[in-house]
């Protein structure tokens, strides 16, 4: 890995007891995406748009269409060049009218172990802990 830091996100939808990966279309990252980036990555991981300005960076946006209502799990993976890998789990609920609400996030401000996060997310989503651990690779 030649980057100092790599952040990847993956989105999953709860279908029964399963988590199904959702895919979308990839496009360029523009100034219009800056606020979303800070909200989705900056607030969770601690890397903001200002940090992107500080060095060389490359960002792509994946636009995923979700049919409401839905319960979603976003997995954010942060890989440091010479450090360990961290995972952040964000659970959101999309109502029938399309409103989005965050139900859970183990963002950087909290001192929560990954074990505890997986346990909590498993209860919120009603899925097996193993199926969440399978995503964290």
């Amino acid at each position: 890995m030649s980057n100092d830091l790599t952040v990847t996100t993956a989105l999953f939808k709860v279908e029964g007891k399963n988590l199904v990966r959702l895919y979308g279309t990839s496009r360029e990252f523009t100034e219009e995406d800056f606020i979303d980036f800070d909200r989705d990555i900056g607030a969770v991981v601690g890397i903001s748009v200002n940090d992107l300005f500080h060095g060389d960076s490359s960002v792509r946006v994946e636009e995923v269409v979700v049919q409401p209502p839905a319960k979603l799990l976003k997995v954010v993976k942060v890989e440091e060049k010479y450090g360990k890998t961290r995972f952040y789990l964000i659970v959101t609920e999309v109502s029938a009218t399309g409103e989005e609400r965050v139900l859970y996030s183990n963002h950087r401000s909290l001192m929560v172990t990954l074990n505890k996060s997986v346990e909590d997310v498993s209860k919120i989503l009603g899925v097996n802990e193993d199926s969440i651990w399978d995503l964290l690779k």
Partner: protein
């Protein structure tokens, strides 16, 4: 200096004559309703021009890019930080107002050294505003903010008994009186203490001049009741000089330390309170209340006095706990040539201190604020509980500790191997995080701490019965922080805090700020947004919750002008405290009376002439 710009927009205003008697819940209701209306608006308060890349020129070495605001229109711009001629500069280009270049940090080698100590903060789990706008137009504190607050500032009043020529903040110039009710203050402090995972332990009551409030003691008590364990009072010292009973009451009510303006040791370098400071110090002594002196450093004005200010602090170390130098923040619109005459940065002040102390306090003795992050990391790893961590930007501030013995100044770095100690603690923190047994780690720390301290070179009063080692053991092994108090009673803390202005503004610094103001609408805003983009934060929020001057004067039966201080210089300079405090530091007899009077009048403070 004129205001930077006239702002035309719909004013949001509360009838404070009604709200002042409201209970906390009503105040909360009003504040929560108003806060979104008071937030900066895109297209109205600012624009975004991030695609314009400022140029780098020949002979300039790129350090990094960042974001900054236009000093004229507050638009968000891309900025470049670069090295040139051994210094660090910042440049930005506004499509509407052209190029701005400013000195960012006066020594490139110190910048590179400080940069290595940058530590990342945890941010805040509780934030008061949703993330809807770019930094710095979303302050509140927002979910993007990188540090938790270590210190909360609360403005108790914008009234002041001085009329310093450069100040636009005080009530008479502002055109309104901002003075939140006690319940409103309770609401604001309670908002600040909602923070998680780390609640701010310290609050500074500031102004205007907070000692003008008759209910100051109630404000201090409210701060204690709301959970603040360290209370600072920021003051010009004038009332403290003449009211010894007030100082005792302030201490008993719960203030831990007084932050007192002190720009220099002569009437020329400190026309603000040169004459009153000795009397204030004596009253602080009688009350047993320590003080930190706060000089604002301006190149052409008092840079020449920084060494003497330290000598003054050491001379009165029995009551002066520290000196917190603040290189100037330039307010208002000022052409570049004028700014260059005044501009001074942290390395410039440090270089002058080294020169003026004959090399006794060297630039290597100073450390940037985030350098102490390993201490917090270690205690956090040991206890499993989130700890207060100072994760400001490395360019924001620096500090050291000094002692004086037999006429010699001894900085902490003479006898503590600071870098080695910090690296050791960081290493132990990593080991604990990886699961190493904490008792084994603690034993190692206890056994190895002494290798970081050269007792032979420590000041006598720290060598006695191994005091310095005992303090370190108490702090790191037993987590007994009372020992830190003992440490501070024996030393003079020297700090530097360079608050930004519109010319050297850097969003990277704003996003890491850990000194926040709590505002009347419940938002919590970093210092450099509150005071630098004051029209969008301080001014707007305080004006919304203010009295008109006429209403306030009718309510209180007094006038703003009546509270203005008039100085009796003859009486002050003939008093024994004046000579005792300045004797040996300046030649008190060589300054003609007329010079004293002129210095005070030029500064804007009238003199009683008998």
């Amino acid at each position: 200096m004129p205001h930077l710009r006239e702002v035309l927009r719909e004013q949001v205003q509360v009838n404070y004559l009604e709200l002042r008697n409201a209970p906390l819940e009503k105040i909360r209701e009003v504040a929560e309703k108003l806060a979104p209306q008071l937030m900066p608006k895109p297209g109205v308060d600012y624009k975004v021009y991030l695609s314009v890349r400022p140029p780098l020129r020949e002979g300039e070495e790129l350090v990094t890019y960042t974001q900054s605001v236009c000093p004229e229109c507050f638009s968000l711009l891309r900025a470049v930080i670069f090295k040139k001629e051994g210094k660090v500069w910042i440049r930005k280009v506004c499509p509407e107002h052209g190029e701005f270049e400013e000195l960012y940090f006066g020594d490139a080698s110190t910048y590179e050294r400080y940069r290595r100590y940058q530590a990342e903060g945890r941010g805040n789990a509780v934030t008061h505003v949703p993330l809807l706008a770019p930094c710095p137009f979303n302050c509140g504190v927002c979910p993007r903010h990188k540090s938790h607050a270590a210190l909360i500032n609360i403005v108790a009043t914008n009234r002041c008994d001085l009329s310093c020529y450069y100040c636009f903040f005080y009530a008479t110039k502002a055109g309104y009186v901002y003075e939140p009710s006690l319940e409103h203050i309770r609401y604001m402090l309670r908002q600040a203490r909602l923070a998680e995972p780390v609640k701010p332990p310290a609050v500074q009551i500031t102004g205007g001049e907070p000692t003008l409030r008759d209910d100051l003691l109630d404000i201090i008590r409210i701060a204690r009741e709301e959970g603040f364990t360290h209370i600072q009072l920021n003051t010009n010292g004038i009332r403290l000089a003449f009211d010894p009973e007030l100082v005792i009451k302030v201490r008993k009510a719960g203030v831990n330390v007084v932050y007192m303006s002190f720009d220099g040791v002569t009437p020329y370098t400190n026309p603000k309170n040169h004459w009153e400071a000795p009397y204030a110090l004596d009253n602080l002594r009688k009350a047993g209340l320590g003080t930190v002196l706060v000089p604002t450093v301006i190149k052409s004005y008092n840079l020449s006095d920084v060494g003497k200010i330290i000598l003054f602090g050491l001379r009165h170390n029995d009551i002066v706990r520290g000196i917190n130098f603040q290189p100037v923040s330039i307010t208002g619109k000022m052409p570049r040539k004028e700014r260059e005459k005044e501009r001074v940065t942290i390395p410039d002040v440090i270089a002058e201190i080294e020169r003026q102390t004959g090399g006794q306090i060297r630039k290597e003795d100073w450390y940037p604020v985030p350098s102490v992050a390993p201490l917090s990391m270690f205690v956090e790893a040991l206890t499993g509980k989130p700890q207060l961590a100072f994760t400001t930007h490395f360019a924001c501030g620096a500090a050291t500790y000094v002692w004086q013995e037999d006429g010699e100044i001894i900085p902490i770095t003479r006898f503590v191997h600071v870098d080695e100690l910090l690296s050791f603690l960081q290493e132990k923190a990593e080991e604990l995080k990886r699961g190493r047994n904490k008792y084994v780690v603690l034993l190692e720390v206890a056994a190895k701490l002494r290798k970081f301290v050269d007792l032979k070179k420590a000041p006598k009063r720290l060598r006695e019965r191994g005091k310095v080692l005992r303090i370190l053991l108490d702090v790191f092994v037993k987590h007994n922080y009372e020992s830190l108090g003992e440490f501070h009673y024996n030393t003079l803390f020297l700090g530097m805090m360079h608050f930004q202005d519109l010319y050297n503004h850097d969003v990277a610094r704003v996003s890491r700020c850990d000194i926040h103001y709590v505002m009347p609408d419940g938002r919590q805003v970093p210092f450099c947004s509150f005071n630098v983009i004051e029209e969008l934060y301080r001014e707007r929020a305080q004006r919304a919750f203010s009295y008109t001057v006429k209403d306030w004067e009718k309510l209180t039966g007094t006038s703003l002008i009546a509270q203005h201080y008039k100085r009796n210089i003859k009486k002050l300079i003939s008093g024994e405290p004046y000579r005792r405090h300045y004797g040996g530091i300046i030649d008190v007899d060589s300054i003609p009376y007329e010079d004293h009077v002129l210095a005070s009048k030029r500064f804007g403070i009238p003199v009683v002439e008998e």
